[in-house]
């Protein structure tokens, strides 16, 4: 009997290597677990019954195009859409022999922080099914936490990997922009979208990142990794300078329980040999979120223009073209995409562009400079990933601004194109708290090393309490 709840991807690979279990048997074990537990959680939109490949099975967020397997981005407007080609990351997983378990639920077009914006219904948090798993990669996080996948890929535009990983007690890596191909990833905000792993351990995260990262000729914005991915094994933080940005750690709305857990982790870093100091990111935190909500919706309004009912997806109406567009898009998009299309269309309009999009890009440059300055002094920066633990379903659905604030700490480094790793650092009110580690561009190896050492020392149990 395979204990999918406990099994890490690394252990699963060892089982396969030792011949104790086949990839197909593992795949079946996960499908069985899904049949048992996913009725309540609803972490998957689609499952794949055929096991292809001799590696550790994987779940992919439903923005990741999979050849022959429906890919909806959580939207009605892509209902029934079956890609004719694999995205580059899906192809790389296939080349690495990872059988696909299924496609996971998400906020529609990855727009949201709770997975409640899915057109196919919300996903629940395995730590407490009355709570959200975070989002938008909530399906991937819930699936891994509940033992319904050994590992998964999510996508992160404004915190959509880091935040659900934090809320589900997992490790989430948002890679440096440009290290993972976006080819075949249903686009939300192209200058921010990055695919990354959601895993139980930092070592699993590094292993999966190694599979998916690297230059892809199909994505002009990708680059070759400056150094190979190193699977971490260090258990100390000796020689590392860890900066604690005041604004990221003292922002309004951070729950005391979250602060406590994060502060204990910071204290622990000191014990592990790190040199800890305070630093400051005044404008990055104050303006990060507002800037993000100009840039991301602007790009989204452009990226979502292609869903017009002409070439694929459902079409409503067949009269004149204007009314066909309007009815198709009205029926196909949920409230959140509509809200962001309107925001973005406005921000890009003649006469407003400079004041909004143009200005936001300038501020983005300032944010980048601010982080660069802090990272001159420190090797990495730490903060809570999310100001709060998992919140109850429905708590923020009527207040978009409150929902947006879920990512106030995750967004600033994203705006700077920096990698971020969220690792679980304890519990508050019985729910996981995430610690965000931020490094310079291409510092994934450093984040893995620090994350791994902290993970060892923290001894966090990633199996949700109700499932133990």
């Amino acid at each position: 009997m395979i204990d999918t709840l406990r099994l890490t991807a690394e252990e699963a690979a060892e089982l396969i290597e030792r011949g104790e279990v086949s990839a197909a048997e593992l795949h079946s074990a996960y499908l069985l677990a899904i049949a048992e537990r996913d009725g309540e959680l609803h972490s998957y939109l689609t499952t794949v019954s055929e096991s292809e490949g001799e590696g550790v099975p994987i779940a992919l967020k439903d923005v990741i195009s999979t050849k022959g397997v429906e890919t909806t981005a959580g939207s009605k407007i892509l209902a029934g859409y079956v890609p004719v080609a694999d995205s580059t990351v899906a192809a790389r997983c296939k080349e690495a022999g990872l059988p696909l378990i299924g496609k996971t639920n998400l906020d529609e077009f990855a727009m949201g922080s709770s997975t409640e914006n899915s057109a196919y219904g919300p996903t629940r948090n395995p730590w407490n099914p009355e709570r959200v798993p975070g989002g938008s990669s909530g399906g991937s996080a819930a699936a891994v936490a509940a033992g319904l996948a050994p590992w998964a890929l999510g996508s992160d535009t404004g915190g959509s990997i880091k935040q659900p990983a934090a809320l589900c007690g997992l490790v989430g890596l948002r890679p440096t922009y440009g290290t993972v191909s976006r080819s075949g990833i249903v686009a939300f905000a192209s200058s921010l979208d990055q695919v990354g792993p959601i895993t139980k351990t930092v070592r699993d995260s590094a292993r999966l990142y190694e599979i998916i990262a690297g230059r892809d000729p199909e994505d002009s914005t990708t680059v070759e990794l400056p150094e190979p991915v190193a699977i971490p094994d260090a258990e100390d933080l000796k020689g590392l300078r860890v900066g604690v940005p005041k604004e990221l750690n003292e922002a309004e709305g951070i729950e005391p329980g979250v602060s406590d857990a994060v502060n204990r982790a910071i204290e622990l870093s000191r014990e592990l040999g790190a040199e800890v100091g305070e630093t400051t990111l005044p404008r990055a935190v104050e303006y990060g979120l507002p800037c993000y909500y100009l840039i991301a919706p602007s790009e989204a309004s452009s990226n979502l223009a292609r869903y017009d009912g002409v070439r694929y997806g459902p079409r409503v109406g067949n009269g004149d073209i204007r009314s066909m567009y309007e009815r198709t898009r009205d029926a196909g998009f949920g409230d959140e995409p509509k809200r962001r299309i309107m925001l973005g269309t406005y921000a890009l309009s003649a006469g407003y562009y400079e004041a909004y999009y143009g200005q936001a890009q300038k501020v983005r440059t300032i944010i980048r400079q601010e982080f660069a300055a802090a990272l001159e002094e420190f090797d990495l920066l730490v903060s809570p990933t999310s100001p709060t633990v998992a919140f109850p379903l429905g708590a923020r659905t009527d207040n978009p601004l409150a929902m947006y604030l879920s990512d106030v700490l995750a967004i600033p480094p994203n705006m700077a194109g920096l990698p971020g790793l969220s690792i679980p650092c304890g519990l508050s009110e019985g729910l996981p708290v995430g610690l965000q580690l931020i490094g310079p561009q291409f510092s994934e190896n450093l984040l893995f090393r620090a994350g791994h050492a902290l993970e060892r020392a923290l001894e966090f149990d990633f199996v949700p309490e109700p499932l133990r």
Binding site: R306, Y325, T345
Partner: protein, 466 residues
Amino acid sequence: MSWEPVIGLEIHVHLKTRTKMFCRCELEYGAAENTRTCPVCLAHPGALPVPNARAVEMTILLGLALECEIAEHAVFHRKHYFYPDLPKGYQISQYDEPLCVDGKLPLATAEGDVAVGIVRAHLEEDAAKNVHMGGAAGRISGADRTLVDFNRAGTPLVEIVTAPDIHSAEHAKRFLQMLRQTVVELGISDAEMEKGSLRFDVNVSVRPEGSDELRTRTELKNMNSFNLAAKGIDREIRRQIAVYESSGVVEQETMHFDPGNESAPPLRSKEEAQDYRYLPEPDLVPLEPPRELVERLRAELPELPGARVRRLTEQVGFELAEGLVTSGRDRLFEQVGGERREIANVLMNQFAATGVDPAAANPEELAKLIEARDRIPRQAFTEALAASGDPGFSAERYLGDGQITDASDLEPLVEQVLSANPEQVASYRAGKERVLGFLVGQVMKETQGRANPKLVNDLLREKLQP
């Protein structure tokens, strides 16, 4: 008052690359509908554009030919509007940082060069083709449904925008011809209007002679030949002048040219200001052409048509020089020996009428033919020209057929032969009639076989009568 027309042109040229601008679909004009498509040019979710390096080079080459500055940093933008032929809901184009800026094409005219400024030449992708079904003549109005052929979607397209430096319909036409010839010779486009690989819009306004103001302009679209363009521009100039002279106001509007009735009905009067919501294309990094590439391409530039018109004008005058160059016959002209104006005239008239590809014609044989044209029948000359592009064409054959049939041409020769052969003349007169054959042979020899033997025979008999 006298009025000066002010004309600016926007020309779109399809680049002759093997594949599309941002994907690997092959470009094939006339391929079955929707058989040259992929997730990128159909705008499937997540599909990303990858720029065609050859298209970038071709655009730089054109930019250099137009004496443009080649940007060190050029940016693709998204230009948004909803239309079924635009799969992404935006066109990837260039906006405020185009690849080529600030050039000129000196237009050779009978009165000397007119410098036409090139504001910019930028790279973009073409839209798909809407096929309107059930309506009149494929037009959208009255159509009961529209099908889309995405084969054309993503074809690399260069847009060239001139300054409003052109002041007559005739010069506009000449500019278009010269530009067309330039892109064809650079090998970057077929520039065939009937295939849509060359399209242009014309902006027209008028102003009082001597003023430098720019008045409201109208845009003429969809003209499908240079001659029709010249007519349309002339008509629009006259219309605007008439409006001003009756104290009216010229409205900014777009005219859709209808070649059927040669009228220009308004398409969009007071065009609702289109807001394209330009956005720097986040899926592409800026183009930063290496200077070595630019210099290599500069070294590849051939002698351009404008320079050749200027050079040939000295030999044959402007009209013929321009005609030769814009018709692509000037290289042949330079290889065919003979009197320059005569060669030019033949190439632009009788030779042009045959439709023979100038590149296929054999210059040496053509020279022989043209040299002899007054000595051979018009019919034979025309036939010879029509065959001048055939492999192995020989002028000799046609010259042989080109008999001298005019008695007055032959008489002096006959006299000459008779006086040179008194013995044979005496023999003939003595009754040896077979000597006639020898004398005919001598005349034929003198005319290199071109004399009509029967005529020679008759003339000889006549002269030999005692």
